[in-house]
């Protein structure tokens, strides 16, 4: 229900008796300023998460696909901005009224009332647009990591256009836009479901329709690891995401102009932080126990898992509960990664385990600490949004597949998308290791149909 700001008062949605009083008071200029400023600053932090996803993914793909993933991550953010202006915002927020969709149309700022001294809107319209837009970008970023290393760049960007312009806003209208799920009481504070699992479902259908990277799954269920090329970059990405998440959740208070909001913001940020701590430490402990080594990428994923888990309800738990909610997320991610591998769903960076699995967990965990929500309603939200995204994104992936094509050629996959699509190497000065047998840049040929290879004599390597 959050994110649908009721303009009469900045505090209408905060269920605290003391505020009954405030609800009738007109919004003051100071409140208007602070609410707006919060949207802008917190929105800037959320934008920063695009860089975090970019660095995380650049660190976790092999060096031959690094430039491509960089380009994807920055250009999807560009697409999110343009599409949210062209149709996304209005589809999500304009006249949803308990229904299933907003209206089509360019978005335009309108702050005439505020400039005339009526601050009842609560915040400037651009600041709200900006804050909502950056969330849309985050959903896209989830997809890019999962389908990396084999998808054609323009095909991916076309998918992003539809995701940002149509899929994300329609489902978003159901809860945050004041649609049917919001009426029902579905609670997703900052987007465990609306952002993370939406990205996750779209990534899941994409990964299935694309298929696994060549050589990832060997004979007899063998999983061939394809280690990421730059661990400190992945760590930096995680730090950036962690930082940005303070804005993601903290900004979702949607107000700063009264004491209750700022108290809530403090709680949200403290809980967000401790959920990340819990997720990371739980994942590290789990990996140490299971594998006798601490896989650093699992630790990173654990932190993100904690963050995703708390996102549906960061305002209600105590700090201890936040650690637990995050911690369960951290455990889930360690179990989910090999699970998806067993299903031969090839998720390059662990996006499904982090964003989809923990997005669901986080949403379902809300009723533990929030008496106003029910498992039933939360489940309906998770399922309906899941179903919608699975169907709609599958259609889009398939249309792309049978028109401009989705997957690069096997040769291009072997050479790497950087050379094939960008004509550039990410690290041209460095001698990179191509020793197949070292498991790194491995191309395990048992997965490659010999015929295919013989038919394309030009690009061979």
């Amino acid at each position: 229900m959050k994110k649908f700001f009721i303009a009469l008062s900045t505090v209408a949605l905060v269920a605290l008796p003391v505020l009954a009083l405030a609800e009738d008071a007109p919004v003051s200029e100071m409140t208007y300023i602070l609410n707006t400023f919060s949207f802008l600053i917190m929105g800037i932090l959320v934008m920063w998460m695009a860089a975090g996803f970019g660095m995380l993914e650049a660190g976790l793909v092999r060096s031959k696909n690094v430039a491509t993933i960089c380009l994807k991550n920055i250009s999807l953010f560009g697409i999110a901005g343009v599409l949210f202006y062209l149709c996304g915002y209005n589809l999500m927020y304009a006249g949803v009224d308990g229904g299933y969709i907003g209206s089509f149309g360019l978005w335009a700022a309108d702050d005439a009332a505020a400039l005339a001294g009526d601050y009842s809107a609560g915040y400037s319209s651009s600041s709200d647009w900006f804050f909502q837009m950056v969330f849309c970008g985050a959903a896209c970023s989830v997809v890019s990591g999962c389908v990396a290393e084999r998808i054609k760049i323009w095909s991916f960007l076309v998918f992003c256009i539809v995701l940002c312009g149509i899929i994300y806003p329609i489902q978003g209208s159901w809860a945050w836009g004041g649609g049917w799920l919001s009426e029902m009481g579905f609670a997703d504070y900052a987007g465990s479901t609306l952002v993370h699992s939406v990205g996750g479902w779209a990534a899941l259908t994409g990964a299935i329709i694309l298929g696994a990277r060549k050589g990832k799954y060997g004979k007899g269920g063998r999983v061939n690891p394809m280690p990421g090329s730059n661990i400190p970059m992945a760590t930096l990405g995680t730090f950036i995401l962690w930082m940005g998440w303070y804005g993601f959740n903290g900004g979702s208070v949607l107000a700063l102009g009264d004491a209750a909001s700022v108290v809530e913001m403090g709680n949200v940020i403290a809980n967000t932080n401790l959920a990340a701590c819990g997720g990371m430490l739980a994942a590290m402990a789990m990996v140490q126990v299971l594998y006798k080594k601490v896989d650093v990428t699992m630790g990173l994923n654990g932190a993100l898992a904690g963050l995703v888990s708390i996102t549906a309800g960061p305002q209600t738990p105590s700090l201890g509960a936040a650690i637990l909610i995050g911690g369960v997320g951290g455990v889930l991610v360690v179990l989910a990664v090999p699970f998806f591998d067993k299903l031969k769903i090839d998720d390059v960076v662990g996006a499904l385990s982090v964003h989809l699995v923990c997005g669901i967990w986080g949403t379902m965990a809300v009723p533990f600490t929030n008496a106003e929500t029910s498992f039933m309603t939360q489940g309906i939200g998770v399922l309906s949004i899941g179903a919608f995204v699975i169907v709609s994104s599958s259609v889009v992936w398939l249309v792309i597949k049978y028109t401009i094509g989705l997957r690069c050629s096997e040769e291009d996959e072997y050479r790497g998308l950087d050379l094939a699509e960008i004509g550039m190497e990410a690290y041209p000065d460095f001698q990179t290791v191509h020793l197949g047998g070292m498991g790194t840049a491995a191309y395990v040929p048992d997965a490659a149909p010999a015929a295919a290879r013989v038919n394309s004599p030009v690009k061979q390597n």
Binding site: M424, R453, Q460
Partner: protein
């Protein structure tokens, strides 16, 4: 007599070649990354509006020192495994080695391999 076999192969063939060789009972080899120039042409890259030709392609060189009688079998195995039928599959060169020493033990000749 001992021979040195140098095989220059496509990088993704390393695993197959290694397996085929070890199946012949050879227990050691030394591998290095090299860049090959040959009939297989390179590719063009693009950087900020200027294209340029990259002539050298990544290849793997496998060095094996073996006893003379093993040479034909190894050549056959490498050729079978490394061959894709397309330009750039690589070469095998054979030459003489006069002496071999295992550093750890000081063993000499064939025993050192």
């Amino acid at each position: 007599m001992m021979k040195k076999i140098e095989c220059i192969v496509k990088p993704f063939k390393l695993d197959d070649v290694k397996n085929a060789i070890t199946e012949l009972g050879i227990s050691g080899m030394t591998v290095s990354e090299v860049r090959g120039f040959g009939r297989q042409k390179g590719h063009t890259e693009l950087y900020r509006g200027a294209e340029y030709q990259v002539d050298f392609l990544p290849k793997i060189k496998i060095d094996l020192v073996v006893s003379e009688e093993q040479v034909p079998a190894i050549i056959a195995a490498v050729q079978k495994e490394a061959c894709t039928g397309r330009i750039g599959d690589g070469k095998i060169f054979v030459s003489d080695v006069e002496q071999s020493i295992r550093i750890r033990t000081g063993e000499n000749g064939i025993e050192a391999l």
